[in-house]
């Protein structure tokens, strides 16, 4: 009777095993990570105009915070029992749209035309992620910190394309450029693999993704050419939150 039950169990199990080659071996070697995120963003350009009744950014684009989308590719340079040190490069996109202004003879401001401010944020980032909680205790959280050197490539446009402004002395300033700065990030990632370990192993086997995480973080940054007197502030005045997904591969 026992032999018959064993044969039946084997007969049922073998076809399933043949269809889905779930690995029971250790995970594949880690190389790095990729993440993408979204974040409400509003540059603190108006910090130059403290006390002004109609500061240029808020008057033109309002107080809303359009979403900035970003992605970072990283190489893991040090993997230990405690965590992983990643060095990466990131890029993104952000744009605000608004209306131009015209002040008539009576001093009344009339709105019209279209104008935009677009930013392509680039960054070289170093991040350390504490994998210890999940690897050692199966607690599916991974705190992380990240520091980055950022370069915001920006462009302002009006009705006729890239903006330009000519001063009273005849000097023309084109409305595009690049501004450097620094940023620091504190975040917490939720390790999604903990919720379906079988699927996690299958992803590693199929496409080499060792770990998937949902993260939420806060970033404080300063993007004004390191305090240059000839630069505006393109970083937000606040700790900017972002949410996204991170894949370790």
């Amino acid at each position: 009777m026992k032999k018959a039950l064993l044969a039946l169990a084997l007969a049922l199990a073998l076809p399933a095993a043949a269809q889905s080659p779930v690995l029971v071996s250790k995970e594949s070697p880690r190389w790095g990570s990729f993440q993408f995120s979204i974040s409400p963003f509003s540059p603190d350009i108006d910090s130059e105009f403290v006390g002004a009744t109609s500061p240029p950014y808020a008057t033109t684009f309002g107080t809303s915070r359009p979403l900035m989308v970003q992605g970072i590719f990283s190489k893991s340079v040090w993997i230990s029992e405690v965590g992983t040190l990643d060095v990466g490069f990131g890029a993104g996109w952000w744009q605000a749209s608004g209306q131009g202004q015209y002040t008539n003879a009576s001093g009344v401001v009339v709105r019209g035309g279209s104008t935009t401010l677009m930013i392509i944020p680039l960054q070289v980032a170093v991040a350390y992620r504490f994998d210890w909680f999940y690897d050692r205790f199966d607690v599916p959280i991974a705190p992380y910190i990240r520091g980055a050197l950022v370069d915001y490539i920006w462009n302002t446009s009006g009705q006729g394309g890239v903006s330009s402004w000519t001063s009273a002395t005849g000097t023309t300033y084109r409305g595009n450029g690049a501004t450097f700065g620094l940023s620091g990030t504190l975040g917490l990632a939720l390790v999604l693999d903990a919720f379906d370990t079988g699927l996690s192993r299958q992803m590693d086997y199929d496409i080499g993704i060792n770990r998937s995480m949902l993260f939420f973080d806060f970033t404080k940054s300063s993007v004004n050419d390191f305090g240059s007197q000839k630069s505006w502030q393109l970083a937000p005045s606040y700790w900017a939150w972002s949410v996204g997904l991170l894949f370790v591969y």
Binding site: G100, Y102, D151, S163, G177, A178, T179, D225, F226, S228
Partner: protein, 314 residues
């Protein structure tokens, strides 16, 4: 394997052999299928379409491009007859040859271009009726081959379709006007259809901006099939009256919209964009790449990257 006769072969094989035998016959039958003809009315230039004005004009002509299923011989006096019929009846293929919409013409080849075919004759032959009716009328174009000019031994050798696009688009509505520097951006939406105004498949809009006083001549925008139409080349600080009009694909103009303005929203002004406002208020940013220490970062990072790549390769 050898020695198996057709009668002894399996049923599937027999059917396949029979099919192979029938294929040449099917190909021969296909060779007698009429070719394709198209017509282009020269005034508005959209192939296969005529508008209301062309339908009723006594001078409007079309160019027919005939693709015939037979190759005529000029020396034999072979001729073509151009005909038209209602879409429901279609081209006649047997019996008495229908009357032509023009005189029979010498057939010079299997493909032939015929110019100067009067549109009114096409409409009359195909019983289009009124050229101001609310609905489009599709007709059949027919080309008959008369070997040696014979009207008894004739053959339908080419056919096509042609649309009298008689429906006019509904009167549009102006949903808002945004002033710009020497221009107005006009949001135009399709109006409601009425008994005499039918929504046609493809509609373009045109906006006319008329200056109130002293602003020169009215300016009409180019055609656009999007919701916003730009009226450009205007004079700043002059209020304009804005109207919109839709046109069907074949060029039937619809009714003109209710006017908007003249008011502040229809007055173009030299608006300053964000950068101009920022600099005008004394903003310190100067544009361009960073200067000083920050400006040196980019080449420094590029150099570091290059060194890293070279180190990996060595």
């Amino acid at each position: 394997m050898g020695g198996l006769s057709l009668a002894e072969s399996p049923p599937m094989l027999r059917r396949a052999t029979l099919l192979l035998c029938l294929l040449p016959g099917a190909a021969l039958a296909q060779a007698t299928t009429p070719g394709t003809t198209s017509a282009l009315v020269t005034t508005q230039g959209v192939s296969g379409l005529a508008n209301q004005a062309e339908c009723s004009s006594t001078t409007s002509t079309a160019t027919w491009t005939i693709g015939s299923s037979v190759t005529p011989v000029i020396a034999n006096g072979d001729r073509y007859r151009l005909g038209a019929a209602t879409q429901g009846a279609g081209c006649t293929s047997s019996g008495t040859i229908p009357a032509g919409i023009s005189q029979d013409l010498t057939a010079t080849g299997a493909t032939q271009v015929v110019t100067g075919v009067f549109v009114t004759a096409m409409a009359a032959t195909a019983s289009v009726g009124s050229c101001t009716q609310a609905s489009d009328v599709t007709i059949a174009l027919c080309v008959y081959y008369l070997p040696g000019g014979s009207t008894t031994n004739w053959q339908l050798v080419s056919q096509g379709t042609f649309v009298f696009q008689l429906a006019v688009p509904p009167r549009p509505r102006i949903n808002g006007v945004t002033p710009g520097d020497s221009q107005l951006s006009v949001a135009v939406v399709a109006g409601d259809t009425t008994a005499t105004e039918t929504a046609t498949r493809s509609v373009t809009y045109r906006v006319t901006c008329t200056p109130s006083t002293g602003g020169g001549a009215p300016v009409t925008s180019g055609s656009s099939n999007v919701g916003r139409v730009i009226c450009g080349g205007l004079t700043n600080s002059i209020p304009y009256t804005v109207t919109a009009q839709a046109a069907s694909q074949a060029g039937n103009p619809g009714a003109v919209s209710d006017p908007t303005g003249p008011d502040a929203s229809t007055t173009p002004l030299p608006f300053l964009d964000f950068w101009q406002v920022y600099k005008g208020q004394g903003g310190v940013e100067q544009g361009g790449c960073s200067t000083g220490g920050a400006g040196a970062l980019a080449p420094a990072l590029a150099l570091l990257g290059l060194l890293a790549v070279r180190r990996r390769r060595s």
